[in-house]
Symmetry: C2
């Protein structure tokens, strides 16, 4: 498998665009994205488990009932959630795209991200639909424009693609994501749009996606808040020409590997670019009695405000990690726990058999001053392992969220 340039336009047969339409006041910030497959694509999605669901999710779910889609429209700057007319506006977004692209509006998926509870004015979207469609293209710049248009407080554009081979045919899978805040996906995720030209049945596509998110987006947290508008969508347009993947086996495994390569990178970027974050934290748990315990422990550590603040301060305060393991709810024998910190500057053991060991504070500081920190936890109680991604808790997280609406 190889990394290739671009995100959603790397797979064949997909076009994208991103523009400023006026939902945001800042004219330099794009706020409307469109992804289009020139042929109808198999499509699958997973959604937030938050009981408060954004109106776009209701519309997307309805439009995906037949397992097919050809376009995704997404605006930033307004989540279109908790609004009396939300579903009406989301439906209208799909109709505008449908009529501009000569598609049934039921083949258009809809997503929104931004502030909750402020009515979304359809006017700027309607006014600029012609431009949005006119800008559709398959160049890297088109894909990047779409990736930019879905960003909220993200500081970095998140797009990635890989090329892989299925039954002798070269296939590509790419994706874009927005993360930053209100990131604590549960059985679903933040906004991620994936495309592939690999031929795969709707059923297997949904299976691949639902399986993958358990180990990727659901193991990522910025602030413990599960958003109302989380959604991952994948479209597979089959233009690579491989025999359709319709069951498990080698081809499906290859597809899963490509998908996982893309999603893990997006997770790392989402965590590392968490609101206000200065560091990516990767917590790798090994030696767990079972997978559920490994996941629970990894996620608990990544979510601990005290651990996150200690990492911001490059403080090897491993007691907070033990504390987070202890309250995680997982049945852990805390007397066996080993903890190490690692980064490009080296690795350091700080806790063994659940108790502290003497270590060089100087080396620990050097390791923890890096931008990517591994927290390595060995439970010494089995073979299961899991990884979770998070970020540090910083002044800027507070600053960004102390007055988000203005």
């Amino acid at each position: 498998m190889d990394f290739v340039k671009g995100g959603v336009v790397a797979p064949h047969g997909f076009r994208a665009s991103g523009i400023h339409c006026g939902i945001r006041k800042n004219k330099t910030k794009k706020d409307l994205a469109l992804i289009f497959s020139r042929v109808p694509a198999k499509a699958a999605a997973v959604y937030t488990t938050n009981l408060v669901k954004g109106a776009p999710l209701t519309v997307t779910k309805a439009h995906l009932q037949n397992g097919m889609a050809q376009a995704v429209i997404c605006n930033s700057g307004n989540a279109n959630t908790c609004n009396a007319n939300g579903i009406e506006v989301a439906e209208e977004m799909s109709r505008l795209v449908g009529s501009a692209l000569k598609l049934s509006h039921k083949d258009v998926l809809v997503a929104s991200t931004g502030v909750i509870g402020q009515p979304l004015d359809i006017t700027p979207i309607a006014k600029n639909m012609e431009t949005l469609v006119h800008n559709l293209g398959k160049d890297l710049s088109n894909g990047r424009a779409a990736a930019e248009a879905i960003m909220t407080t993200d500081t970095k554009v998140k797009e990635i693609a890989v090329e892989f081979t299925v039954n002798g045919k070269k296939c590509r899978l790419g994706g874009i994501a927005k993360g930053s805040g209100m990131i604590h996906p549960n059985m679903a995720t933040m906004l991620v749009f994936l495309t592939t030209d690999c031929s795969i049945s709707t059923q297997m596509l949904q299976k691949a996606l639902s399986t993958d998110v358990q180990d990727t987006f659901n193991m990522t947290s910025v602030d413990g808040d599960t958003s109302t508008n989380d959604m991952v969508v994948i479209m597979a347009n089959g233009t690579a020409g491989n025999p359709e993947i319709v069951k498990e086996g080698h081809a499906f495994d290859t597809f899963m590997k490509a998908l996982n390569t893309v999603t893990v990178q997006l997770c790392r970027w989402i965590a590392g670019d968490g609101e206000g974050a200065t560091k990516l934290l990767e917590c790798k748990v090994t030696g767990a009695p079972d997978l559920a315990i490994a996941k629970t422990v990894a996620k608990s550590v990544i979510c601990s405000s005290l651990t996150k603040a200690a990492m911001f301060g490059a403080d090897a305060n491993w007691g907070r990690i033990l504390c987070a393991i202890g309250y995680s709810g997982a049945a852990v024998d805390v007397t066996k726990v080993e903890v190490k910190f690692a980064s490009s500057k080296g690795e350091i053991l700080v806790c063994e058999n659940g108790a502290g060991v003497a270590f060089s504070e100087e080396l620990a500081k050097k390791i923890l001053l890096e931008k990517e920190i591994d927290i390595l936890i060995d439970l010494h109680d089995g073979e299961a392992a899991s990884t979770a991604w998070g970020c540090d808790l910083t002044y800027d997280y507070v600053k960004i969220n102390g007055d988000y609406r203005t």
Copy 2:
């Protein structure tokens, strides 16, 4: 019931002291507290549910097996947790107090708070035991010294007492607490020491305490991190002379009310003085189908980092509250939810039937700039109600926890 001066020394027959013994480097900060009842007292306690438990909790639990105690020693600056020799050191603390006060060491309870995973040196405690015991007294200043000595990053001393009447006899109940960080009690709590001169059986005392914490300390959160050293201890020495409370009924209800009055105030102080906090948040949920739902919703809102940051910024971003209700895990009909903000400056409706309503941003700002904010949530779906206490998330929380150990 009347509030009276003092904390643990307000009830008759209790003495207290607090000194600087040298566990902390800062000589102006007291770090060792002692509470003593001149007669053996009935005693009860609840402990953290964190699987990583401080050594002092193991020792206190063992010493409380007979339901009696006569003294509590507590140090700050070091949690004596995750240390190979922790239990030995905690036992030694009880022996030192026992021999200085001519008590069995099994009548001495032990608590510690501070950094996890650094061996606690018994030397400064042993060296200063004579002074600690010599300083025992029943004056307000003695009680305050003990309250000061258990503080960590707390900025305010927390002590309170009430006077109430049981079967014609005046009784008193008082308490001190330390809170600040790593505060998210679960079936237990942070460090709280309560005393009463009311006569009550060990069984009813434990029942009163275990019942009360469900609605008080377990509904309080500063940062979502459940500490390893949480403990609430209550001692009842019976010197008020009332007939011993041995069953439910009017006298027990009166006792419960006194206990609840003290613990609710301590919870409000602990939340309002959370690490870095500038505001106390009180989330009152009404109209819930059952108590479990009311509690889950109230706790979820209080724990949301995004809601806490919005309150720091006095931003009426109620969408985050709906979001926190939605991901709480409670079965809520989100289309019925009503949200109001209130403070001494007034009350403002911001959400009705799960959707936003027009409101004055100016008035909302005025309300939210106060130091004590009520978040009033009516689920309009039943009669159950619950209250939770928390605080805002601020730059100073990050600052304090970015480098706690230095």
